[in-house]
Amino acid sequence: MGTTGTPTNLTQGSRTRGGIGESTLRPDGILKVTGEFAYSSDMWHEDMLWGQILRSTVAHAEIVSIDTGEALATPGVYAVMTYDDLPTEVKNYGLEIQDTPVLAHGKVRHHGEPVAIVAADHPETARRAAAKIKVEYRELPVITDEASATAPDAILIHEGRDDHHIGHVPHPNIVHRQPIVRGNVEEAAKKADFVVKGEYTFGMQDQAFLGPESGLAVPAEDGGVDLYIATQWLHSDLRQIAPVLGLPEDKVRMTLSGVGGAFGGREDLSMQIHACLLALRTGKPVKIVYNRFESFFGHVHRHPAKLYYEHGATKDGKLTHLKARIVLDGGAYASASPAVVGNASSLGAGPYVVDDVDIEAIALYTNNPPCGAMRGFGAVQACFAYEAQMDKLADKVGMDRVAFRQLNAMEQGTVMPTGQVVDSPAPVAELLRRVKAMPMPPEQQWLTAGEAADVRQLPGGLSNTTHGEGVVRGVGYAVGIKNVGFSEGFDDYSTAKVRMEVVGGEPVATVHTAMAEVGQGGVTVHAQIARTELGVAQVTIQPADTQVGSAGSTSASRQTYVTGGAVKNSCELVREKVLELGRRKFGTYHPAWATAELLLEGGKVVTDGGEVLADLVDVLGDESVEIEAEWRHRPTEAFDLRTGQGFGHVQYTFAAHRAVVEVDTELGLVKVIELACAQDVGKALNPLSVLGQIQGGTTQGLGIAVMEEIIVDPKTAKVKNPSFTDYLIPTILDTPTIPVDVLELADDHAPYGLRGIGEAPTLSSTPAVLAAIRNATGLELNRTPVRPEHLTGK
């Protein structure tokens, strides 16, 4: 320690205000509360037209004919386009498998598939014109589940598949299959004193982001197009859009507009290509905005799943083996199904030590709505099943349910079923301990509160259906494991451009990335990183666009890790150049320029002992220092197609929940009283944003536990509830208090030791609520969401 009164052993950024670790406020906050923040549906252009999509009214049919005559003749209509009007040979798109038609060709494969597009001078004119397009369908039998998809005479959803999964799937109506096999399950099963088998059903959840799919395409004089859009990954969109338009990528200039939430639902394209096609055809700017009804058809959903689990345990409570089969319904197009299969299988054992496993996950092609990415991505469905299994097994063994989990909890050094050694903290038992130690909400408030008793806090709320009669409390616990980042050997990089210069007599850092800010607060964190690494107060965040290299997707809890890592890396490179500049200019005046560890702090160059060597303003002068660089986390590798072995995931992330519910057992109404969460975040770069992610993710898990489900008619494969009237998401009345206990155990492989956080809380929230309802009712409840009829037994 220093003895002279000057601080010693400073580290970069340790004295910078507004750097990492502080709850700095959002840079876009003011614009968002004044209504001035420009979302993709707010775009407006002189002379713009409105685009409208005509969607199939049936789920599976051959298209016999399309007659656009009457629509085209409608006054105010500028263009009507079908498959035949597509300009190039590239007529399909897709994230991994290009199986999704821009406009239907010869066949429709799901309810709501785009068939034709219209541009008109008023949205209502466009809607009415689209309704005048006559499409004659010859209906085909619908494939809606595993049995109908893999029947010997099943119609193939996609004939002539040539994608890279077709060689290893047992049936062409299976998108991808991933087994994870380790040890010897049959032998290990002999050691089991208790065996629990369960069959679980997970409903189809919608992302239900509030900002509808929308954007504005403006044709440019150079024959290209400028697209203002809400997405999760600009460069992925670009790669899919440009070939369909027949344009080089540099002529499709994309700028991120305000994004009204995403949660996975904007990984796939929606209206991007349609708006560009109409803009290029008419020569006018074209705006498309889905309404909520169309939004339910306009993006993929969370895969519904059937999960078959068998666990064994010895009489002292140690897991012996796991057999699992996870059947995910991918719907009509592949979207992210292969990666969802990879997650569901590789994380199918949960955060537990079990040496002998035999897991298989598949995704089906069916005529149900296409399913793909949603927060939690395959790990959510598995967590629902294995956590139900853990409770049943604990009961059989006769152990406390939390203690049983803790006994079997994985930790740093545990070998995953994929053979991957977990090489950073995995505090599963500790998270359970913490969440259990939180104080419990008081019981039977309606009795103890006296005059303060409030019907609004009871099941049924203002419906005034009970004053406590028939109300039973239940408590449930769950814990989950999620991977961070794109896995299985994907080149998961990001790019950041950072510039440092003097503006108005002050050193200013400018950060430019293509990261999609979808509400998570990445822009806040980027500014914090730049302050920490460059020791400046002023940071400007440039709008995200395709003028800078790819940032990868705002998905998989990866952006703070990967684009945050890229910003950190570029800042470090800028810092080195600034210090070189300083050495050239001032090195001869002070020996510390050559000998000491130099830092940028408070707008100055200082030594690690705190001695000031120069002002950044003087070091930079008129020069600006700029670096654009890609940054990669350590590589992962693909899972073996037969055994699932491989270093598949770059990082794991964990959360645990305790749910407290009160159930009106007579009416089957559930009131979630509290949903406590403990999560390890590695390092909280912005603690306020971390809480927001955990509470938001928890609430989406609550939704799929008790209310959210897209209902698809099994006879017609048509969606029955595409509206917020019939598809319910939690309101502020449905959502309980969510106390959060944040643990920060650094992952030495990650920037600042951080851990991706966005998804983990969505995993364990659902099974915790289900466990609490089971605890209150004594019912088995093997499906989610739980509806009143499941509780009243009628």
């Binding site: 906050g29 509360v33 004044t34 209504g35 209502e124 900002g211 509808p212 939430g261 502020i732």
Partner: protein
């Protein structure tokens, strides 16, 4: 048709309005006020909440023709509306407008999106930022209008009051905890200021 009405204290005239257009559409697409949001356009989400003659309504469910001659306050006018209320007492209709004297003192100030300098926020807007109640922000305008109206009626709400008043406003990002914090914060600051 032509519709004449007052928005945020200023008379507005919208021409060529088709009879089926909603107030929301006219605000967003004809008057350049896209702050009121279009999350569901069917009266379920509250993102388009405005005050119509002082009453919070879903502007997507109000036919444009119904607002002829009436007063509308949107999120864009919320700061000024709250200021008028604080200075002159209840101006719940939004019809107070700007006095000639005040208008003469008004000058345009550029707003810095990072620091908010130059802009003036209502207490509820500031509380949403300070409490971390804004993520994607799409629900924010409707929630602000609804929460501001509740605090006008009920300056010291219980948690149950807040939840009841905001139950018509969906948020998908926050889990509502920080929204609760923001409204509690605005109420506390308001009662301290009195």
């Amino acid at each position: 048709m032509r519709v004449n009405f007052t928005v945020n204290g200023r008379p507005q005239e919208a021409d060529d309005v088709w009879e089926g257009e909603s107030l929301l559409y006219v605000l967003r697409e004809r008057l350049g006020l896209p702050g009121s949001k279009n999350a569901c356009e069917q009266g379920e989400c509250g993102s388009c909440t405005v005050r119509l003659d002082g009453v919070p309504v879903c502007s997507c469910l109000v036919a444009a023709g119904q607002v002829e001659g009436r007063e509308v306050v949107t999120v864009e006018g919320l700061a000024e509306f709250a200021k008028q209320r604080a200075e002159h007492g209840g101006c719940a209709t939004g019809s107070c407008g700007t006095s000639l004297d005040e208008a003469r003192r008004w000058e345009s100030k550029p707003q810095d999106s990072h620091t908010g300098e130059g802009g003036e926020l209502s207490p509820i807007q500031q509380a949403f930022i300070d409490a971390g109640a804004v993520q994607c922000g799409f629900c924010t305008p409707g929630l602000l209008v609804a929460a501001d109206e509740m605090l006008e009626r009920n300056p010291t709400p219980t948690d149950a009051d807040i939840r009841e008043a905001l139950s018509g406003n969906l948020c998908r990002c926050t889990g509502y905890e920080k929204i609760m914090d923001a409204v509690r914060l605005a109420a506390a600051r308001q009662s301290e200021a009195v």
